[in-house]
C-alpha cells in the first residue's frame, strides 16, 4: 500500500535518513498499520464535525507584559555549536536546496 518511493518522500519531509533495510521495513509496517486504520474509511461520517480539541475554551490570552528573557550564556549552554553569541548551523547548500 505504501511503496518505497512514498517512504522516501515522507522520510525527506520528516528529515529522517533511512537506510535500505529501514525503508523496506517501514514500507511494510506502515502499510500494515494503515490497513487497520483504513477501517474508519467505512464509517459514515457525513456531516460530523472534526474534533481537534476537547476543551471548550476560547480567547485564552496573556497580557502584553514583558518578562525577563534568559541570560544568553544559559540559552547557549546546551547548543551543539554556539558561535559569536548565536546558534550556528550548517548552510543550506544550493544544490540540496
Amino acid at each position: 500500500m505504501i511503496d518505497r518511493e512514498q517512504v522516501l518522500h515522507v522520510a525527506r519531509l520528516a528529515r529522517l535518513r533511512l537506510d535500505e533495510a529501514e525503508v523496506e521495513k517501514m514500507a511494510g509496517e506502515l502499510s500494515g498499520i494503515l490497513e487497520h486504520v483504513d477501517r474508519i474509511g467505512e464509517l459514515d461520517l457525513d456531516g460530523v464535525e472534526p474534533t481537534s480539541h476537547v476543551v471548550e475554551l476560547e480567547n485564552v490570552l496573556r497580557p502584553d507584559r514583558p518578562r525577563p528573557s534568559w541570560p544568553r550564556d544559559v540559552v547557549l549552554e546546551p547548543a551543539p555549536d554556539p558561535a559569536d553569541g548565536a546558534f550556528r548551523a550548517p548552510s543550506p547548500q544550493a544544490d540540496s536546496q
Binding site: 520528516a14 529522517l16 509496517e29 498499520i33 485564552v60 546546551p78
Partner: protein
C-alpha cells in the same frame, strides 16, 4: 527503616505533619530504596536529602517520569536525541508538587517520547516488571509504574496519551489516574500528542492518587488548554456504590481479552453489585475505532512536536554532516529510535498533501463520534467500566516486532483519551497469562464524565476497599 516504606503517602504525610516522622528521614529511606533499583526504573536519582519543606506533601518523594522538565536535572524523555540535556526551566506539574512540599526522588525511565506500551522503547534500556522481570511493566510510564509497584517510590507521576498511565499501572498492580484533559497543566511536559497528553498519578491506592491530583491540578497561564478542576479535589471517603449506575460497553468487552483478565473483570462487576451499584451493558459503538483514530491523530501531532529536535539549539547533533539537510537527517536518524521514527513517518504521511482528508480529517470525525458516544452514555450512567488492558504483563520482546499488536494493548484506554475523559485503573486481582505462568495483576478501569474526578475517586475508593487487593510482587512471581 522498612516500616516507613510500608506507609501510604497519605499516612506518611499525616505522620510528618504530626511531627512523628522527620521529612528528611522519610525522604532518605526512599532514596535508599530507589538506590536498589534493579528494574531500570530510574534514569536519574536525587543525590541530596530534603529539609525544611512544608505543605500537604511535605517531604514526600515523588518519582517523576523523565518527560517532565526539571531545571538543571537531566530530562531526556527516554531519547538519545536529548541525552545530556538539562532544561533551563521546570514543568508546572513538578513545580506544583514542590509547592505542596514534595520533592523529586528520581526521573523514571519510559518509552522514548512516551511512544510505546511496554517501556522497551527507551534509549536507555527496557524497564522490567517488578512482578516478573522477564515481562514488561507496560508503558509508556513504565518506569514510574515499576518504581511504585516495585517498592522503589511511594508514588509517581506520569503522562497518559492513550493509556500510558493506566496500562502500566494495571500491569504493575497499582493505581493509575488519568485526569480530564485540561485538569493539569502540560507546561514543561515534553509533548508527544498535544491534544491527548495529560499528566496523572501512579500510586499505591486511590487516596494517594487523590492527594497528588489535588496538588497537581489547576489552571496555568502557561498552558492555554488548562482549566483545573472546579472545587479542587478531596480525599475520597465513600464506602458503597448505592444508586450508582455503571455501563459496560459491549463493543469493547467482546473483543479479544485474555480469559484470566475477563474473569477478574467479571468478578469485579459482581463486587460493584454487591456494593449496591447497578451494571448495565450499554452501547459505545465507535469506541472500537479508537485505535484507528488514535494512530492517526497521535502520530500526526507527534511528527510536528518532534520536529524541533533538529540539532541546532540543544540536544544531539550528528557528527560530520555537510550541509543543513544532511545535518538534520543524520541527527534525527541517529537520535531517534525505531518506534519514534515509525510514528514520525506515519504522522508525516497522514498529514501530507493529498492524504489529510482521508486520514487526519476522518480520524478527527471519528473522535467526535467517540466523544458523543460517551456523552450519550453519561446521560444515563454515572460511569463506564472496562478492563484496563486486554492482557496481563506480556514478555519482554514479545510484541516488539509487531507494532500493531503492541498498539492493541491500548484498546481499552484510547477511547477515553480521545474524548478527554478522566479514567482510573485500580488493581482488581491476579490472573494467569493466557499462555500459562505465574499470576499477575489485572487492572479495572473506571471512566467518568469530564471533570467529575471527585465522583470517580469516590467510586474507585469504595471499590478498592471492597476488593482489598493486597498481593505484592516477588511472592511466587518469577524474578
Amino acid at each position: 527503616m522498612s516500616g516507613l516504606l510500608e506507609l501510604t503517602v497519605a499516612e506518611a504525610a499525616g505522620r510528618i505533619a504530626a511531627g512523628e516522622i522527620a521529612a528528611g528521614e522519610y525522604f532518605d529511606a526512599w532514596r535508599a530504596a530507589a538506590a536498589g533499583d534493579e528494574l531500570n526504573a530510574y534514569l536519574w536519582r536525587a543525590e541530596d536529602g530534603v529539609e525544611g519543606t512544608g505543605g500537604p506533601l511535605a517531604g514526600i518523594p515523588v518519582a517523576v517520569k523523565d518527560i517532565f522538565c526539571t531545571e538543571g536535572v537531566p530530562t531526556t524523555a527516554g531519547s538519545r536525541i536529548l541525552a545530556g540535556y538539562a532544561p533551563p526551566y521546570t514543568s508546572t506539574a513538578v513545580r506544583r508538587l514542590g509547592e505542596a512540599g514534595a520533592r523529586v526522588l528520581g526521573k523514571t525511565n519510559m518509552d522514548e517520547f512516551a511512544m510505546g506500551s511496554s517501556s522497551e522503547n527507551s534509549a536507555f534500556g527496557p524497564v522490567l516488571n517488578p512482578w516478573d522481570r522477564g515481562r514488561v511493566p507496560g508503558g509508556s510510564s513504565g518506569g514510574s509504574a515499576a518504581a511504585v509497584g516495585g517498592g522503589l517510590a511511594p508514588c509517581a507521576i506520569g503522562t497518559d496519551t492513550g493509556g500510558s498511565i493506566r496500562q502500566p499501572a494495571s500491569l504493575c498492580g497499582i493505581v493509575g489516574l488519568k485526569p480530564t484533559y485540561g485538569a493539569i497543566s502540560r507546561y514543561g511536559m515534553i509533548a508527544f500528542a498535544s491534544s491527548l497528553d495529560q499528566c496523572g498519578a501512579l500510586t499505591r491506592d486511590v487516596t494517594d492518587a487523590a492527594l497528588l491530583l489535588a496538588a497537581l491540578q489547576g489552571r496555568d497561564p502557561c498552558d492555554s488548554t488548562s482549566v483545573g478542576i472546579e472545587g479542587g479535589v478531596e480525599a475520597p471517603s465513600r464506602e458503597d456504590l448505592k444508586g450508582l449506575r455503571f455501563a459496560v460497553p459491549g463493543e469493547l468487552a467482546r473483543d479479544a481479552i485474555d480469559s484470566g483478565v475477563r474473569a477478574v473483570f467479571e468478578a469485579t462487576l459482581e463486587t460493584i453489585e454487591r456494593l449496591g451499584g447497578a451494571i448495565t451493558e450499554a452501547p459505545l459503538p465507535h469506541a472500537e475505532h479508537g485505535i484507528s483514530a488514535y494512530y492517526v491523530i497521535a502520530p500526526a501531532e507527534a511528527s510536528s512536536n518532534l520536529a524541533r529536535y533538529d540539532g541546532v539549539r540543544y540536544g544531539m547533533r550528528a557528527e560530520g554532516a555537510g550541509d543543513l539537510t544532511e545535518m538534520y537527517e543524520k541527527t534525527r536518524a541517529e537520535g531517534f529510535g525505531a518506534e519514534v521514527k515509525r510514528r514520525i513517518m506515519l504522522g508525516t504521511y497522514v498529514l501530507s498533501s493529498g492524504y489529510y482528508d482521508a486520514y487526519y480529517g476522518r480520524a478527527q470525525r471519528v473522535r467526535t463520534k467517540i466523544a458523543s458516544d460517551f456523552a450519550a452514555a453519561f446521560a444515563e450512567f454515572d460511569f463506564v467500566v472496562t478492563p484496563t488492558s486486554p492482557s496481563v504483563a506480556f514478555g519482554l520482546g514479545e510484541k516488539t516486532d509487531d507494532p500493531l499488536a503492541m498498539y492493541m494493548s491500548d484498546f481499552f484506554t484510547v477511547p477515553m483519551s480521545l474524548a478527554g475523559l478522566p479514567a482510573i485503573s485500580i488493581p482488581a486481582g491476579l490472573a494467569e497469562p493466557d499462555g500459562g505462568g505465574p499470576r499477575l495483576p489485572v487492572g479495572f478501569q473506571i471512566v467518568a464524565p469530564a471533570f467529575a474526578e471527585q465522583r470517580l475517586l469516590e467510586a474507585a475508593f469504595a471499590l478498592e476497599r471492597e476488593i482489598g487487593f493486597d498481593a505484592k510482587p516477588g511472592e511466587g512471581a518469577g524474578g
